[in-house]
């Protein structure tokens, strides 16, 4: 009887391990789902749909990636779901936005941190920019800061929410220029924040470079500065904040990429880490991204790991005072 049981147990174990090994080897066997923690049509959703559109090709995953939107509270809803409720079987991926999810986890009140996820690859880097309405009196960051110095706390400027890239940029600006301004978080994300600027509800705003570039092309806003280390190829004439004399680095740049929940089988992660960056490099993807005004930055798993760690350290310091 004992032997029989032992035999059965071994057989069962053999069965599960082979099934497991097979699962990793043949992964993916069915379409893969990617959670985006912002609404359909937002910048992250739009880019996620483009960079995953070639997933079904034989040289990529060989299976399509379907986008699943779980918007709410600046991304918290989606990432909480990914960290706590999603199946870590390799069939549920997630899109990350750095610094958003790292800043939120430092601030607390959520159930995830950088340890809850395993990065796969990075596809884009969208710096924050400072925008004002097309008819605004402000023509440079100096004008903005001078106004803020004279009227402490009275300069209203919009951004996509609290503890997202725009808010980080706002905090950096206040710190570097040593001024007090009124940051107005918008519940409708970057699009809502941009509308507030164009409609004149606020005096200025921090927004995504890709959206601001589009609004500038339409003649609705002026872009006064880029919150990055160097000028952007889309806006070669707009100086960085650093050039204008404010000590601000690239901590607010919105890095977008793919991650999986912790506990996903190691071989699945390896397979994804090997194939996904190549998938991003597809010429068709690059063409569509450029056409849409979305800057790309492809980074491998190891580079992303390093970037997450660096960002976590910077943000801890920046948010310590709050």
């Amino acid at each position: 009887m004992k032997q029989l049981l032992a035999g059965a147990a071994i057989a069962l174990m053999g069965l599960t391990t082979t099934a497991f090994a097979e699962g990793a080897e043949n992964y993916p066997e069915r379409p893969v789902m990617m959670m985006v923690s912002y609404g359909a049509g937002g910048a992250t959703d739009f880019q996620a749909r483009i960079v995953t559109m070639t997933a079904g090709n034989e040289d990529a995953l060989g299976m399509p990636i379907a986008i699943l939107n779980k918007p709410g509270a600046g991304g918290r809803v989606g990432w909480n779901w990914l960290a706590t409720q999603a199946d870590a079987d390799g069939y549920t991926l997630g899109a990350y936005n750095v610094p958003h999810f790292i800043a939120q986890s430092i601030k607390g009140g959520v159930e995830y941190s950088t340890d809850s996820f395993e990065p796969i690859a990075n596809w884009g880097a969208d710096p924050a920019v400072f925008v004002v309405g097309a008819d605004s009196d402000f023509n440079s960051m100096q004008d903005v800061v001078a106004f803020a110095k004279e009227n402490p706390g009275k300069l209203t400027f919009s951004g996509a929410g609290l503890f997202v890239g725009h808010h980080i940029a706002a905090l950096q600006l206040e710190k570097a220029a040593d001024v007090k301004m009124a940051y107005i978080p918008n519940n409708k994300g970057g699009a809502g924040a941009m509308k507030a600027v164009i409609a004149g509800e606020v005096m200025g705003g921090i927004n995504n470079l890709s959206d601001a570039f589009r609004a500038e092309q339409a003649g609705n806003v002026k872009i006064l500065g880029v919150f990055d280390l160097e000028r952007n190829e889309f806006l070669p004439d707009v100086p960085t904040l650093k050039e204008q004399g404010y000590d601000i680095d690239n901590a607010s740049v919105n890095f977008r990429g793919i991650m999986v929940p912790k506990g996903t089988p190691e071989d699945v992660i390896e397979k994804l880490a090997a194939t996904v960056p190549a998938m991003f490099e597809n010429g068709k993807v690059a063409g569509k991204m450029k056409a849409g005004g979305s800057p790309m930055k492809i980074m491998t798993r190891d580079e992303v790991k390093q970037m997450w760690a660096d960002r976590a350290a910077t943000l801890k310091e920046l948010l310590a005072g709050l």
Binding site: P31, M33, A66
Partner: protein, 155 residues
Amino acid sequence: MTPSLPRLQHVIGSGIVAAVGLWVAYVSYTQQPSEAFLFPRLIATVFVVLALWTFAKACLGWTKVGNGISISQMANLTPGLIVTLIYIFWAAKGLGFYTATPIAFFILLSLYDPASHREVKSWLKRLFITACFVAVMYGLFAKLLKVYTPREIFF
């Protein structure tokens, strides 16, 4: 249906609503951070006032009552409600959508379909309707819309 039954049910119903209102108010006024609960506090205050008003009217018998639920209706709906709750809260996830749905569908048809329970023909008809429904659901959601529903045992 005795005239007092809907009235009693109404008192119980509005009592539960009032209790929920009080709980919401308690949470809104005590939870931190308080600025995030500003709007809930406003709502809860109005909520409690209206709920207590309704409850008081119900107790005093001043109010127009809804239709209530008669004993026979209660007896009729209980089995269906139990099947529904088991289906939604356990079977759909536990057995997979395409296993649980035909089972629940077939049980509900058997419970509420007026056709005879003794004839083979009416059973076949129920099976046929169930099969058609599941086929349509599968075609629409799994094939056309590509929704990946929980599927434990098969598809």
